[in-house]
């Protein structure tokens, strides 16, 4: 009796909600989006608050997809995203009269990590592809011990997941047929991947450079067999020698105004870009 009623109400509310336009916020900024960038947004908000204590900057994570959906439904002012908007999303934006403005605010390298006791220290993109698609099943095939490989991936709402799939599994072809191995474990967060890799000698996983810690071993990656193995460091991502790196975006609805403009200026300022570096991403200015 109750559940169908709830369901009806839910659907009705969602339909009506689609027509709701964003309320004009004055002294508050809503930032929503990528879990990779949420710590960066938090650090900006914390520092911005020291300069402009009267402005309330609320930071929320949830994933790039969540942030873009929020921008499109008018429930956030700034969307942090670790991927560009898809044509499907742009179409929705157009239909709702929202003009997403894209800025690249930082660069990110995706680190491939294994347990510190794992003897493997470098791999080619092809080897990574073989492992994450499930074709290479044992560490001995890539120069490690004779133990099975446990694949850790992020869940599908994650921008990191999509980027890794497109640039490693599909070698840059966005709509390629390749998929992660069905045996890959889908982890809810980058920190969950870090924790599992720390404790599991069989595991291999990937996360944004910001998560690199001595408790996991970072793999040096080569574009192909004839290229040098490169570690995900700020210098290497900037020099574009590390093969798995990506831009990090900020979207606003149209040209940012008022306090949102001030916040964006701060993000691109010397101090804002220093924060980018401190949260282990690569500054763009």
């Amino acid at each position: 009796m109750n559940k169908p009623f709830t369901a009806v109400l839910l659907v009705a509310a969602l339909c009506l909600g689609a027509a709701v336009t964003p309320a004009e916020a004055k002294n508050s900024i809503q930032i929503k989006g990528s879990d990779t960038m949420v710590n960066l947004g938090q650090a900006w908000a914390e520092a911005f608050n020291r300069i402009r204590p009267e402005v309330n900057v609320a930071v929320t994570g949830g994933g790039s997809g969540t942030g873009i959906a929020a921008l499109l439904s008018g429930t956030c002012d700034i969307c942090e995203s670790s991927r560009a908007m898809e044509p499907r999303e742009l179409k929705v934006a157009e239909a709702k009269g929202i003009a997403p403005k894209q800025e690249i605010v930082a660069l990110d390298g995706i680190a491939v990590v294994v347990h510190p006791a794992n003897p493997v220290k470098d791999m080619t993109i092809d080897q990574l592809r073989g492992i994450f698609m499930g074709d290479i099943k044992n560490w001995k095939d890539v120069g490690g011990k004779n133990i099975p490989i446990v694949i850790l991936s992020r869940e599908v709402n994650s921008g990191t997941h999509l980027f890794f799939k497109e640039h490693v599994l599909r070698r840059g072809v966005a709509k390629g047929p390749e998929e992660f191995s069905p045996f890959a474990l889908l982890m809810p967060s980058s920190q969950a991947i870090a924790d599992e890799v720390t404790n599991n000698e069989n595991a291999i996983g990937y996360y944004g450079m910001g998560y690199i810690s001595p408790a996991q071993k970072v793999i040096a990656v080569a574009k192909d067999a004839s290229s040098p193995f490169v570690k995900p460091t700020i210098e290497n991502v900037k020099a574009n020698t590390y093969p798995i790196s990506r831009p990090l975006y900020i979207f606003t609805n149209g040209e940012p105004k008022g306090v949102i403009r001030d916040f964006m200026d701060f993000a691109f300022s010397k101090e804002g870009q220093e924060i980018v570096r401190k949260t282990d991403f690569v500054p763009v200015r």
């Binding site: 009796m1 109750n2 559940k3 709830t6 109400l9 839910l10 009705a12 509310a13 969602l14 009506l16 909600g17 709701v20 309320a23 508050s28 809503q30 879990d35 949420v38 710590n39 947004g41 938090q42 650090a43 908000a45 914390e46 911005f48 608050n49 204590p53 309330n56 900057v57 609320a58 930071v59 929320t60 994570g61 439904s73 429930t75 809810p188 967060s189 980058s190 920190q191 969950a192 870090a194 910001g210 998560y211 810690s213 949260t279």
Partner: protein, 283 residues
């Protein structure tokens, strides 16, 4: 000889029952022990009463504590009056007909709905439809609706436990139904009602899913200053510092868990105290 085997059988039987009881108690004790030993070192004045710093790796969890306090206050302010009134109606006024049975069914269903469904419900109703936005008021109302069945059920049990003669004597003095409820029933049901309210506070304080979409913020530099602001909250804060913040000190996670568990434990213990105190004064 037969006596001996009967005795033995009984001993084995009681042993099994005792083991089953222990199986309930041991995990609780283990959890508390684990959280206290690992989290105690984080607890300090600064941890409890300052804002987070350095990417939430230092400083305190004050905004999360304040947020949880507001949410609990808001949810009880909504669910206690509504729940108690509904329970009084159902127990004292309603006839046992089809509608009443359907309402009962709805309440049972409500208490079985998983908390994430309440979160989505709150998102679509309060956040989007009523345009409250992601705010304390949306979160409070969502939590309030989630705790309604607890309050209704405990209040009804409390009303039902008041002996029938109390009402009959009151009616025989020529009082109205409401006068009877007000003076001859409610005072004696109060401890039960309070228990329900306090248990629902514990539930509201500890839930993550209903606040996920309706109120919780990853980070806020200032405390909320209106019901339409977002807030941080303890369970969600614990979730994000465990999943999103790299290289955070372990005792910060466990310290946050300790504050949350401590909050709920204090609530539950005060429920027991209130109950036993009022019970002594009973008829």
């Amino acid at each position: 000889m037969t006596n001996l085997t009967v005795n033995l059988k009984e001993k084995i039987g009681f042993g099994a029952l005792f083991l089953a009881t222990m199986a309930v108690v041991v995990p609780v004790l283990c959890i508390i022990w684990l959280i206290v030993t690992r989290g105690w070192s984080a607890i300090s004045w600064e941890f409890l009463f300052t804002m987070p710093r350095d990417g939430m790796r230092a400083g305190g969890i004050f905004p999360a504590i304040v947020g949880t306090f507001y949410l609990v206050l808001g949810s009880v302010a909504f669910s206690l009056p509504v729940g108690v009134m509904a329970a009084i109606y159902l127990n004292e006024y309603a006839k046992d007909n089809f509608l009443t049975r359907m309402i009962n069914l709805a309440i049972i269903n409500l208490s079985g709905v998983s908390s994430v469904v309440y979160g989505l419900f709150g998102l679509s109703l309060f956040v989007v439809f009523f345009r409250f936005g992601v705010s304390i008021i949306s979160g409070s109302l969502t939590l309030g609706i989630m705790t309604l069945p607890v309050i209704i059920t405990t209040t009804r049990e409390a009303l039902r436990a008041v002996p029938k003669p109390f009402r009959e004597v009151s009616f025989s003095l020529g009082t109205t139904r409401w006068q009877t409820i007000r003076h001859a029933v409610l005072p004696f049901a109060l401890p039960g009602i309070l228990t329900g309210a306090i248990l629902s506070i514990g539930r509201a304080a500890g839930e993550t899913a209903p606040i996920l979409f309706t109120v919780a913020a990853f980070y806020l530099p200032n405390l909320p200053n209106s019901p339409f602001d977002q807030a941080m909250a303890l369970p969600y804060h614990l979730y994000i510092i465990s999943t999103q913040i790299p290289n955070i000190r372990l005792d910060y996670r466990y310290g946050t868990a300790l504050v949350l568990v401590g909050f709920v434990l204090i609530m539950n213990i005060s429920a027991i105290v209130v109950r036993s105190k009022f019970r002594k004064k009973r008829w």
